[in-house]
Structures are given as C-alpha cells and as structure tokens.
C-alpha cells in the first residue's frame, strides 16, 4: 500500500470514528462518506466507489413528489408522562417567536421558559451536533431534517401529546413529504417567495407581466433601490425562475451556471442590494423592488410604515403552486432534550389556534398552517389588507407539484454556494 493510501485510510478511520460518536455504525458511516462525496478527499479506497445521489447518511433526498419516511432512531417517549419542572429551553431564530406566547406556555405548565437563538440553520445544526447548547425543543427547516436524522440529533415524537397536529393543522402537512408520518416534526410557519414592491415607485404592472420575475432584469430605473434575498438558494432560484426553470433542487451545472450568468447580468442592470432587510425597507422607502417572502410583505404593513403612509403602497406577488417556492418551518425534539414531555407539549401548544394566531399577527408575520387561519378570515378580521391576499399561504399550495428548496447532495450544495459566492463577489 502506498504512503498516500496509508494516509487516506488513516483519515478515513478518523472520520468513521467521529461518525461513530454520532451513533453510526461503521457500515452507516462509510455509506455516509460515500453519499457526501467526501470519498475522494478522505480515501482513495472510497473514491473508487461512485458518489451516491443520496442525501446525508445515505438517506434519500425528499422532494414534494418523492416523499421520504425517515428511519426511527430510538423510541418516542411513553404516553401519559407528567411534564418536567425547571427551565424549558426553546432553540429558534431571534425574532421568530412571540415572547408573550413563551410566557403563556411557562405559566400554563409552571416552568421558566428560556429562548436560545441561532443566526442561521448551519449554526443551529452545528450547535446541536456539537452539543454546544442545552435545549429542549428546536426549530428546523425541512431541508435539514434528513441531515439531523442521519446524524441522530432528533428523537421520534409521540403523537398522543400533540392532538392539535390532526385537529388544527392543514391536512397537507399532517404527513409531509420530508417526514412521512410526522415521525420527528410538526409544522410551524409557512411562506412563499415572491416579489415585494412599492406601487408608488414601481410603474410596471408586475402581476400582469408575461414573466413577472423578469422585472428585476428590467429594473434600470430602480438602480440602488432593488434587492435580492441574501440566500444562495433564493438568489439562484430567482434566476432559475426567470428562465422558467422550476426544478429548484437541480444539480445540473449548466442550469446553475446560467443562473449565475443571469445574476451577474442583474448586477449590471440594477446593482441590487443583497440583504434580508426587505421586511422593513419597503415600508421605509429604502427599497422599491425586492425579492421577498410573503411574511415580509405583511411585516412591512404591520410594523414599519412611517406615520401618514398607507399600507396600499406595499404590494406582493408570487407565482402560485408549482411556479414559485413555498416553504415551511418545523419543530423537533433534540435527542438530548432533558424535558421531552414539555417539548411535546410545546409542539401542541404552538399549534393551538389562539397561540398560533397571536404569534403570527402580533410578532412574526409568518403564517402558521392552521385551519382557522386563512385568507378569508384574515381579511375579514382586518389583519391582512385585501390587496395583500397574495401574501397569505393556502393549504392547497402544498403537496405534490409544489416547489420547495430541499436537501442537495454535498456536491450540489458546493455548486450552489460557489455560484452564489461568485455572484456576491460582483465579478
């Protein structure tokens, strides 16, 4: 055996050992290495095996048309257990949960409730994987569930504690494609990606354009006032939608290169800002045209309109099912949660109609997938202005045929990130 092979196999052993610490068998670890595309880097032995087109840990990549049942790692907690006492810790983005709702949960179960935050999903997963945080329930996005399950970070949930899942949540999310049977997760908030703009500044009739996404490539007049969401998936996805490509989980280098080229062209056209401040800058007039999430449009109108400004200037358009991304966040219980019963009760609590509604309209602006919270009721109660009904997500928007940014292979992730890095480098 050559020296290179020796070194490679030593490194391979190191990685296998590390995966063993995550509870994986040697066979599972090797499978994971192959699936991740790391084989070439870690060992010439493994590099001989073709890269699998699977996700983390060799698990299949879930897509709206290809649902995945995740493997059970351990058993759920038993039925009828008493809630724990002490401090219950929720792990979430900052500003993505109403404090009054947390306090209400604390009062109901007589516990102190604490919020620990992360800046993004990478940080969330890293902290969970390294056990850097001592949390009892965590927020996740569906594209990370395969990863979290493969790494045995989550524990299966016991549905007997969460009757509100069946009672209150949209049927389309009772058994979502990324977690068939809701073995590990319950849904939290949902949103679409579209275009937000100021009707007093942008003259085009965006919804009636032949290709509304093309507004960004015709935004010379809005130079300095146009913006793109600061996310590799969303930015590159926008360029793909502009070209009519709706496979937003593609790993085809040609499609990704074309999207990069279009984004580079966009810099010349309107010099867009790349940020996530569109939830307030549209209302403040600092931005006139911005790729936006549906919740952003509502937040602009609810919280950030300057005095004397009416909400009708804030507009939102999205392309509809199968033509624009729709996403939802979820709640899950970390395997190391010290208060798993409370974690289950929290999942049920946040799916209670009143709590979900309060969290949405009083703080986050992101809609929970709850039966009683729909476009008609929100418009009727005056929560959502009629002209922003497009910012309300509907149950039928989910399901087969919808578009959702989902887990890519490791190689796919690298391609998307490199293209995005090239775009934001401005060269």
């Amino acid at each position: 055996m050559t020296e290179d092979n020796n070194h490679g196999n030593k490194t391979l052993e190191g990685v296998v050992k590390r995966l063993g610490e995550h509870g994986m068998s040697r066979r599972q670890a090797l499978k994971a290495i192959i699936a991740s595309g790391m084989g070439v880097a870690v060992s010439p032995l493994v590099s001989r095996v073709a890269w699998g087109a699977t996700g983390p840990g060799g698990l299949p990549l879930a897509r709206p048309d290809k649902p995945v049942t995740l493997p059970m790692h351990g058993d759920p907690i038993a039925d009828g257990l008493k809630p724990e006492s002490g401090t219950f810790t929720v792990f979430n983005y900052s500003d993505y949960l109403y404090k009054a709702v947390l306090d209400k949960f604390g009062e109901k179960y007589d516990v102190d409730v604490q919020l620990t935050t992360f800046a993004n999903m990478d940080q969330c997963i890293t902290k969970l994987a390294n056990r850097d945080v001592d949390v009892d329930v965590t927020e996740l996005t569906p594209d990370r569930i395969t990863q979290a399950t493969a790494g045995k970070l989550l524990q299966p949930i016991n549905h007997s504690y969460i009757p509100n899942l069946k009672k209150n949540v949209w049927p389309q999310l009772h058994s979502p494609f990324y977690d068939r049977g809701s073995r590990y997760t319950v849904p939290y908030a949902c949103y679409t990606t579209g275009i937000g703009w100021r009707s007093d500044k942008v003259s085009e009739d965006i919804p009636n354009m032949d290709n509304p996404w093309s507004i960004f490539w015709n935004a010379q007049d809005y130079k300095g006032y146009a913006g793109i969401i600061n996310s590799p998936r969303e930015a590159i996805g926008l360029a793909m939608l502009y070209r009519g490509n709706t496979d937003l989980n593609t790993e085809d280098p040609k499609v990704i290169d074309q999207a990069l080229e279009d984004l580079q062209e966009l810099v010349k056209v309107c010099n867009p800002k790349v940020n996530n401040t569109e939830y307030q800058t549209l209302a403040q007039g600092k931005s006139w045209l911005h790729q936006a999430w549906s919740g952003d449009a509502l937040m602009n109108v609810w919280w950030y309109l300057p005095e004397g400004q009416t909400g009708d200037v804030i507009q939102y358009w999205t392309a509809g099912k199968g033509k624009a991304p729709i996403q939802n966040d979820v709640w899950a219980v970390p395997v190391f949660s010290k208060k798993p019963v409370l974690a289950h009760l929290w999942m049920n609590f946040i799916l209670e109609e009143e709590n979900a509604h309060s969290n949405f309209v009083n703080f986050t602006g992101y809609q929970p997938p709850i039966n009683s919270i729909n476009a008609d009721s929100l418009i009727a109660e005056g929560t959502v202005p009629e002209h922003l009904s497009s910012a309300v997500v509907r149950p039928e928007d989910f399901g087969p045929g919808s578009i959702q940014y989902m887990t890519l292979t490791a190689e796919g992730q690298r391609m998307w990130q490199d293209a995005y890095a090239q775009f934001i480098s401005g060269v």
Binding site: L19, V42, P56, A129, G151, R414, I424
Partner: protein, 295 residues
C-alpha cells in the same frame, strides 16, 4: 537587585494572551483550511498534524488569485478601497493629531477624551447611525435639498464605492489619530527649536524634522487601521449591500457563515493573513531601522 526571572514573569500574561487568543485560534483556522469536513453535518474537522494536511482546496483557491480570476478582482477592489480609506484618513488625522499635540494646550485632554468617545459606542451602532443619516430621506439628503446644493441628491446607500470608503474612514480614523498624537508628543521640542534657530522656516521644519520624526506614528496608524479593514465585511454590507462593493472579508464571511465549505473560508483567511504578514514585516523592518537610526 530584583531576580532576573521577575522581569521574564512580567511578560507571562502577554505570552499567555498571545498563545490563547492568537496562535491557538490561528492554528485552528489552518487546521480547518487543510482539514476535512464531517460528511453529515458539513462541519469542519480540523487536522492538527501538518503531515496529514490536505492542500487540494488550497491550490484551487490560489488559482483564483491570479489576475482576471474572482479572488484577484475582489482582492484588487478591497485593496483599492483600503488604500483610499487609509490615505484620506491620514490626510485628516495628521492635522488633527498635530493640532492636539502642538497647539491644544488646555483643551488637549478634552480633545483626547472626545477622540476616545466614539469607542464608547459599538462600531455597528455607529455604522447604523450613518444608515439613518445617509438614507434617501435622511438628514444628509434633506440638508442638500434644503440648501439647494443638490436638488436631486444621490442614493448614498445604493451601492456606491464612495460610501463604503467614507464608512471605513469614519469607522477607523480614531485608531489613526491616537498613535499619531503619541508619536508627535514624543518628538523632542528642542529639535524643532534647533531647526528654527538654524534658520529653517516653519514649513521646512515640518517637512525636514517633524514629519520624518513622526514616521513611526504614521506607519503605526496605517498598520493599525489597514489590518482590520482587510477583514472587514460588515461595513460594506451595512452601507451598501451591493455585490459591486463587496470586499474579500465578505467572501470569507459567506463561506464561514454557513454552507458546506468552511474550509474555503479558512483557506481565504490564511491567504489574506500571509499577505498581511508581508505588510507587518515591512512595518517591523521600518521600526527596527528607525530605532537603529536614532542610536
């Protein structure tokens, strides 16, 4: 007589500090740059043994530092911004420092306190204040319209290189003034008096005595603000956010902040550090030469 070990012991906290907060973290960055990734979580797995380092990534990244390639162009843009920011900072800072050192007698302490005052407010907050001032309907534009200087003022925050350079100057200039004041204060006044006594004009005295003797302060100030500017990513993000004004720090941040390639971010950090080490080496060489000249 104090024992010799006492003086060496005095350096211990500094050595400990250097080890704990610079050498160990920097070695960790190197370990990440030349290390592996966790195949499931894509977290970096640092490789501590240099014999096992993997340089495949490094070579492909270095290949993008050649003229015409991505990192080269971003590096040139970053260097350009920093060059202008440092040069303008020096032009502003030197007269201020000169005034404080030479002419501000009773007000010297107050002026020094005022200089230190910005440090009481976080850098981020100071930048965000400028976002308010420079926004389309902010005070700056309102003033320009009111005074008829410009009835259609520009969108300063719309991705202008000038705004980024201005923000860098604003953010870092106090770090330039303080070493200059210290350097000018250290100049022996009798040398200046001797220069005047020997018939030099005030202008000649400044260029032939004061300026050369404050060279170390100028270099020190430039180094102190240049190093953090190269790693800065939040200033262009806050006051611009446009790809056209992004700096090398933004590329490092992107790869470190998330995604499957923290090793690329770490490698970029190492490359940047090597470049800055060359600048530092020149500074240290200049200091050594200046000290030799004085002896």
């Amino acid at each position: 007589m104090y024992p010799r070990w006492l003086w060496q012991a005095c350096a211990a906290p500094g050595v400990f500090w250097l080890l704990l907060l610079f050498i160990v973290p920097f070695y960790a960055v190197i370990g990440v740059a030349f290390g592996q990734l966790d195949p499931i979580f894509q977290n970096p797995i640092p490789i501590w043994n240099p014999l096992h380092w993997n340089f495949d990534n490094t070579l492909s990244i270095l290949a993008q530092f050649v003229p015409g390639e991505r990192y080269w162009l971003v590096f040139v843009r970053t260097t350009k911004y920093i060059f202008f920011a440092v040069a303008i900072s020096l032009l502003i800072a030197y007269p201020v420092a000169y005034y404080i050192s030479r002419h501000a007698r009773r007000t010297k302490t107050i002026l020094l306190v005022l200089l230190v005052l910005p440090f009481w407010v976080s850098y981020l907050m100071r930048m965000l204040a400028w976002v308010g001032l420079l926004s389309p309907d902010g005070l700056v534009n309102n003033f320009l319209i009111w005074s008829h200087i410009d009835t259609d003022p520009p969108n300063w925050l719309g991705g202008h290189p000038g705004t980024v350079i201005f923000a860098l100057i604003y953010g870092y200039i106090p770090y330039m003034i303080l070493p200059l004041v210290a350097a000018l204060d250290r100049i022996d006044k009798s040398l200046i008096e001797a220069s005047r006594d020997l018939g030099m004009t005030a202008r000649q005295t400044f260029f032939r005595v004061t300026l050369p003797l404050s060279k170390m302060g100028i270099l020190g100030g430039c180094v102190i603000i240049t190093l953090p500017m190269f790693g800065d990513y939040y200033t262009p993000q806050i006051v611009s956010g446009s790809p056209e004004t992004s700096m090398l720090g933004n590329q490092i941040y992107l790869y470190f902040h998330g995604g499957p390639q923290p090793d690329v971010g770490a490698t970029l950090t190492v490359v940047l550090s090597l470049f800055l080490a060359v600048l530092m080496a020149y500074y240290l060489y200049s200091v050594a030469r200046a000290q030799k000249d004085l002896q």
